[in-house]
Symmetry: C2
Amino acid sequence: MDFGRVAIVGVGLIGGSLGLVLREKGAAGSVVGIDIDEGNLRAAKELGIVDECTTSLEGVKGADLVVLATPVCTIIEVAERIRGLLKEGTIVTDVGSVKGEVVARVEPLMPEGVHFVGGHPIAGTENSGPKAAFSSLFKGKRCILTPTERTDGMALRRVKELWELAGAEVVMMDPRRHDRICAAISHLPHIVAYSLVNTIGDVEDEDLLHYSAGGFRDFTRIAMSPARMWRDICLLNRDEILAVLDLYQDKLRSIRTMIENGDGEGLEKEFERSREVKERIDGRGKG
Amino acid sequence: MDFGRVAIVGVGLIGGSLGLVLREKGAAGSVVGIDIDEGNLRAAKELGIVDECTTSLEGVKGADLVVLATPVCTIIEVAERIRGLLKEGTIVTDVGSVKGEVVARVEPLMPEGVHFVGGHPIAGTENSGPKAAFSSLFKGKRCILTPTERTDGMALRRVKELWELAGAEVVMMDPRRHDRICAAISHLPHIVAYSLVNTIGDVEDEDLLHYSAGGFRDFTRIAMSPARMWRDICLLNRDEILAVLDLYQDKLRSIRTMIENGDGEGLEKEFERSREVKERIDGRGKG
């Protein structure tokens, strides 16, 4: 399998890890890393993530495959700026956590003969940057590709092969459906965690944090996720997030009323239900 | 160190683990387990948690130390029923997750010469019952004791020694302050987790649970905690929980407004703040 000349725009955790995969497997003629941060590029070079690097988007010239791995809010802008530099037959894909808006805006930007495929590898750690990259990041994880009726079949197959090479299980899905699912199982939990951690942080009791035990620790881990990335996700997936956030606030209000009214039966039933949901998850999915 | 004859009422995870500590260290003349569940008692006997067992509260007769380790809602009732059976000099302590209500109600019930000390070992797992018990459960964990102005000094020292024997770090605190802290760092996170898991469970998309990744998984773990125990905590620590739940709902509403208004700056600042809180936690406390 040879992806030819691969340009990775944004050599962070995701872009960097994909670079490592391509180089370790010898699946690219060359990997060029493009990043506005020169420190990232130096690190990427030293760590063997890329063969070449540049801070200029001109680096995409001559690429057979371009992977847009910048923060999700800048993907559309980068696509606009590179569209005139791409040769016919180039495949462009992205790794953004929001797909509806990205696909709807990037797809029509691509010139005749250049093929865009939206993608989202569901993988990550609390760390970011090329130094956090590792080639097994995607192993056993899902990667969602979001073809539309305009997507080129061959390009889709190539991008699927790319992620399978990285060890991911590739799933195809409508971009809007992707955003609805991610709003519920990923975006909402992050917002909930940020809200909880900051609520505790606001309580004026210096000793409080001293006692942060079990449960709360898990929340703080999630709330260490990069603020800018989550800002972007909230801005780009606004409608789906608001919809599921409303459901969550309703649920919370209902539980609050039960507590206020001393409704033990209602509370027990509500809490029991979480176990059923968990069992449904364990019976069906994997992370 | 010898605690003499020790009666443990409620041979579950906590009571069972404490029984194992006492027996392994040879720190009790005998340990009698009292439980309404005969299966629990059989298991406790087989696992070496207790020397004797009975389903009758009469088992507390002759005890030098009585540990109330039943679900927190029944501690007060059990205290009422055993008060007439206790000999002079007996120390009674509990392990309930709520202290204000429990201490205020149990302390005055104790006859002259019987000494009550409120306690709460901050330890637990998702599992319950004597089969889940293990003697290192409390090692390195905090145990909060909540003496009042009526608490006997010698009894307090003995209960402190008991938890230190189990490897816990003992901290003294006013019962109401305990409840305020636990409402924030333990009770609220559980309510938040139950609410989130059930919100996701309500969304009518069968595939949703299939994709439950990283962040959400941590929530489901917390939401597997015993429903009845958390019902009891919500009922007994109502006011403190409602107070901190209101703060949380305010925070959530404020973040919702930022998302609705596309306020990227506000969102980034809010999400950044979680990192500061986390750093304060890591700098100060342990679990």
